[in-house]
């Protein structure tokens, strides 16, 4: 259990933080009554309620470990019922726990599934205590329906356990019938809730999301059956099997890159951009668009985008502003609004947030709700802000945030006024994810919007469009901040003039530092000498704009 706690707390903390962001549990009867429209009623309500506390440090680890403990106790009791010795039951009961621990590493494996497994195991344990007879077997069939309605797909644990019990008691036909009836019951109840059959068998896991095969949850059922069948063998075998399953499961499921970029996303959500920058360097290994995106956002917020743009991994323009559509997934959409809000592009930010809300597994997200409130306050949509504040005020973990925003909504603030200054003044039309019109509209609306100017210039640079860069540098950057040009901009400017006379004029006009001039000359010398072989330049110039411009391409 301690290992499980450590795995949750230190192995996949950001995956678990993100799960909290995918839930918006509103403690109101009308909101809770929406759960009545789907099976897994209790597991879903309890799961979503408790997932809120994943936001606390160690909250997810503690909650999950407690449920693992309950699962282990229940499984142990069942195995004892099947005749296992205390020691063997203790060891083999860890096997399904190990699979559940591993499965919780999936972003889209909800707490409700683990709760469902606990409910199913304990119901089985209780059912096994009933006196043998016809009533016991009739009750088993009825319980299958009740468990599915209240707990969902993990009813399979109960059905398999009950079938094995019947088989053991020589009621083999009944055992087979138990499985068949359970399968039919799930289908019938699923259809009653308008679920397609394939979805009914895995609810509350949602089909067609990032979790490619949602029937992966059956690993717990398989582990449980193996534990029952093998529980009379030696205890050490059970312990060994548990360790193997846990290690293989964790290694299979844990996605280091995903955990990395979810970490960047979460730290940004927690407004800890210093931590974003601390982790930015690792992106040379992970090559994540989202990590590049948050690195750029953190740099831009510090006013250092032009200084350090090429110090970090840049997947062309894909890491500058995130393209969002129905295929990009909710994690991208959730992240996408952060930069657009920061630069003042509230139209695109609204689109990203509503898409994110739409494509989360249950079309609810506390993180997106908060972002919608912030956007609505800036654009002056008071009623929409109030709608989501009303909901957030009824959550366990966001009500204080909501109270502060409500205060802000009432009295206003200079920060809000400053954000409003950034807004586009003249309307126009633009295709989705077409960034240039919006960026131009922002810099035209407010020439002091340094972030928008940096994003516009960086967009040119990452597209290797030096001509537009020079034009827009001259027009939007130079008048306000031209006296202290950032390093990458200097490098790009040095690269943008062909003849010597123009270059000399540019050096003087744009205050290109002697160091950048020297480096540029050196880069050119080595480039010519190496006949364009990048590996020669990479060590020394790999993080310059010159190197990016000459060698960057999508892998």
């Amino acid at each position: 259990m301690a290992a499980g706690w450590c795995w949750f707390a230190f192995g996949v903390p950001y995956t678990l933080y993100t799960k909290e962001q995918l839930v918006l549990f509103v403690a109101d009867m009308a909101a809770v009554s929406e759960y009545l429209g789907r099976p897994a009623l209790i597991a879903s309500i309890l799961g979503d309620y408790l997932t809120q506390f994943y936001l606390l440090i160690g909250g997810a680890a503690t909650i999950l470990t407690l449920f693992m403990l309950l699962l282990w106790c229940g499984a142990r009791r069942v195995l004892r019922g099947f005749g296992a010795s205390p020691l063997a039951a203790t060891a083999w009961a860890l096997l399904p726990v190990a699979t559940e621990v591993a499965l919780n590493g999936y972003l889209e494996y909800p707490l409700s599934m683990t709760i469902a497994s606990v409910m199913a195991v304990w119901t089985l344990a209780a059912w096994m205590c009933l006196r043998e007879g016809a009533v016991k077997y009739i009750v088993a069939f009825m319980l299958a329906a009740v468990i599915y309605w209240l707990a969902g797909a993990h009813v399979a644990i109960f059905a398999l356990g009950a079938a094995l019990w019947m088989w053991r008691e020589q009621h083999r036909v009944l055992g087979v019938l138990m499985l068949a009836v359970s399968a039919v019951v799930v289908a019938i109840i699923g259809v009653a809730f308008y679920l397609p059959i394939s979805q009914a068998y895995c609810y509350p896991l949602i089909e067609n999301y990032m979790l490619q095969n949602c029937y992966v949850f059956l690993a717990t059922e398989a582990a449980f059956v193996v534990a029952i069948v093998a529980a009379r063998s030696r205890a050490w075998l059970g312990a060994l099997a548990t360790v193997v399953v846990a290690v293989v499961g964790v290694l299979t499921i844990a996605d280091r890159t995903q955990e990395y970029w979810l970490g960047m996303s979460c730290e940004a959500y927690f407004n800890r951009y210093d931590r974003v920058m601390e982790r930015a360097e690792e992106n040379w290994e992970h090559k994540s668009y989202v990590a590049s995106y948050y690195t750029n956002l953190a740099l831009a917020m510090r006013g250092e985008l032009g200084e350090h743009l090429t110090d970090y991994y840049q997947p062309l323009t894909y890491g500058l502003l995130l393209d969002v559509d129905e295929k990009s997934g909710y994690c991208y959409a959730m992240a996408a609004a952060d930069a657009t809000v920061a630069i003042g592009d509230m139209a695109e930010a609204q689109r990203a947030t509503l898409l994110a809300m739409t494509f989360t597994p249950h079309q609810r997200s506390s993180r997106v709700a908060k972002k919608i409130v912030d956007i609505a306050i800036v654009v002056g949509n008071r009623e929409l802000a109030e709608k989501f504040l009303w909901q957030l005020e009824r959550t366990a973990m966001h009500k204080r945030w909501a109270a502060k925003r409500r205060e802000l909504l009432a009295v206003g603030s200079k920060v809000i006024d400053a954000e409003r200054e950034k807004l586009v003044k003249e309307d126009g039309f633009v295709g989705a994810n077409n960034w240039y019109p919006a960026l131009y509209a922002l810099v035209e609306a407010n020439g002091e919007n340094r972030m928008a100017v940096d994003y516009l210039l960086s967009m040119h640079l990452l597209r290797k469009d030096r001509e537009r860069f020079v034009t827009d540098y001259e027009r939007y950057f130079y008048p306000n901040w031209g006296s202290v040009p950032p390093k990458v901009y200097q490098q790009a400017l040095m690269m943008s003039f062909d003849n010597e006379r123009e270059l000399n004029m540019a050096i003087e006009r744009y205050h290109i530092s002697p160091e950048v001039q020297r480096e540029c000359v050196e880069y050119s010398r080595i480039y010519v000498k190496a006949q364009g072989r990048g590996e020669v330049l990479q060590q020394r110039f790999g993080r310059t704009y010159w190197f990016y411009c000459n060698y960057a391409q999508m892998e």
Binding site: V26, D28, M29, A30, A31, S33, E34, V191, Y194, L195, P196, Q199, N208, D325, E326, M346, A347, E348, A349, Q350, R351, L354, L355, M357, T358, F359, Q363, R364, I375, V379, G380, N381, E383, L384, E386, K387, W390, Q391, L423, V424, E426, D427, G428, F429, V430, G431, A432, P437, A438, A441
Partner: protein
């Protein structure tokens, strides 16, 4: 001992009873109820207008009509007793009721300013269909077509896209006839236009080689045989201004006539071609005229703000399905400076309600969108200043009695559409609208779905979501043929 028990029992009874009245205050304002149901006209067969008043411990509603009707509710939501509510409406039908609301909060009773409910003798059609969808621009995830019985709180699903390959579904529309003909479009690989008539459900592929795509917006005339629809090549784009959000324009759009009996799709030069864009067709009450919106075709999106759709009309023969050859302009968009969408004629033939916006053909996200009422006898226009809200009032539908309209309004928060009802009297006076009552009105605060394309009709739809699923997967779409309409 017994005496002690009696005393204890008395103490318990007092403790468990109502909180003692600490004081009474008369508040000069209307009760802060949600939804706002003050000073409205309601049909005599509407479900209880349950409402919520934030942070109160109990609510008492005294309704004064020919009799006094007292309703009480614990907590912050007023749940009217349904049986008593129905009795009250039937006995007070045609009367103006005075509503006194008293709330209890922190041991203090507060009596709020009274307001009125006028109980109209005009019944509203009992069934309302609407689409539940996330208000997420050009895409969707889960959407449902819901049929609600407005006399009660019962709902059933007519369509749920989770069971039809996540396909889009839209435009559930009824002709509101005694023998009703309804249609709905389900997109996707196995989709089609679902046409229900005479107890039968058909799935129809309305796309032909000669027309541009499948049927979109439209109506079916009273006999159920003919339908008039738009076919359009729709393109979504975004606004740069955060308050404008989204625009949708048609690269091209024409009208088609569908003969459901013969299985044909037809058009003629007057309602198709590249010179004009035609859309949002609707039959007149007698079926002899088709109203629609038309604009001169311009390059879009550059000229999108110049796309002004006029309200036009063309003759139609409901016996033969033949269209006239001449288009008449009923209201010229340029002359009034507004663009028209969704014309809908009242079943008695007297009125035409239409949506107006500043430009274009997608008023739903236009916050300036309003409803206008046109008197088809005199041609007078009522801009319904008292009816329209701050934000988009758009898609609407008449009750079969012509005395009620339902329309989708985003007046509450600019983003989430809600069905609002309003009474239209014989002189065309439209009452203050009210939102669809809910068993728990808080649902409007908690739901993240828009309720759009509201449609009133007198008879329940013949199918539900399960039947729709079977038709979607198991039935091949009937392929309709093109036919000249001259």
């Amino acid at each position: 001992m017994r005496r002690v028990l009696y005393i204890l029992l008395l103490v318990v009874m007092v403790a468990c009873g109502r909180a003692p009245m600490g004081g009474y205050r008369q508040c000069p304002s209307l009760p802060p109820m949600f939804p706002d149901y003050a000073d409205i006209t309601i049909p005599c067969n509407i479900a209880p207008l349950n409402f919520e008043i934030d942070s109160v411990e109990s609510i008492e509603v005294l309704i004064k009509g020919e009799q006094d009707w007292l309703f009480e509710s614990r907590g912050s939501t007023m749940h009217f007793n349904e049986r008593k509510w129905r009795k009250m409406l039937s006995e007070e039908c045609g009367n103006e009721l005075l509503i006194h609301v008293t709330t209890l909060r922190n041991s203090e009773h507060c009596g709020w300013r009274s307001f009125t409910w006028t109980v109209s003798e005009d019944r509203i059609d009992p069934y309302l269909s609407y689409r539940q969808i996330e208000p997420a621009y050009e895409v969707w995830n889960e959407l449902r077509i819901v049929e609600r019985n407005v006399e009660k709180f019962d709902e059933r699903l007519l369509g749920d896209n989770i069971s039809t390959d996540n396909s889009c579904m839209n435009c559930h529309t009824s002709n509101r006839a005694e023998q009703p003909a309804n249609f709905m479009h389900v997109r996707g690989k196995r989709g089609g236009t679902i046409y229900s008539f005479n107890g039968k459900m058909r799935k129809i592929n309305t796309a032909t080689d000669r027309t541009s795509g499948s049927a979109v917006y439209g109506e079916i005339e009273r006999s159920g045989r003919y339908g008039i629809f738009t076919t359009a090549d729709i393109v979504p784009i975004l606004h740069l201004d955060a308050n404008e959000r989204m625009e949708v324009y048609d690269r091209s759009s024409d009208l088609i006539v569908i003969d459901f009996e013969e299985g044909t799709v037809s058009d003629n030069a007057a309602i198709s071609g590249a010179v004009y864009q035609e859309t949002f067709p609707a039959f007149s009450a007698d079926g002899r005229t088709i109203y629609f919106c038309r604009a001169v075709s311009r390059p879009q999106p550059d000229s999108i703000t110049n796309m002004m759709y006029s309200l036009c009309a063309i003759d139609f023969d409901p016996q033969t399905g033949r269209l006239g050859s001449e288009v008449r302009t009923v209201i010229d968009a340029e002359s009034v400076g507004r663009s028209f969408s969704f014309p809908k004629c009242s079943p008695d033939g007297r009125w035409l309600m239409v949506t107006v916006s500043d430009y274009g053909t997608f008023p739903i996200w236009h916050s300036e969108t309003d409803l206008w009422l046109v008197d088809l006898q005199s041609g007078a226009i009522d801009t319904l200043a008292e009816v329209n809200g701050r934000y988009s009032d758009s898609y609407h539908s008449w009750s079969s009695t012509s005395r009620w309209v339902v329309f989708a309004s985003k007046r509450d928060d600019r983003v989430y559409g809600r069905p609002y009802f309003a009474h239209v009297d014989s002189l065309g006076q439209v009452s203050r609208p009210f939102v669809l009552p809910q068993r728990d009105p808080t649902i409007y605060r908690t739901t993240l779905k828009s309720m759009n394309i509201p449609e009133l009709y007198p008879h329940s739809e013949i199918y539900d979501a399960r039947a729709l699923r079977r038709v979607y997967f198991d039935k091949e779409a009937e392929k309709f043929e093109y036919k000249e309409n001259n």
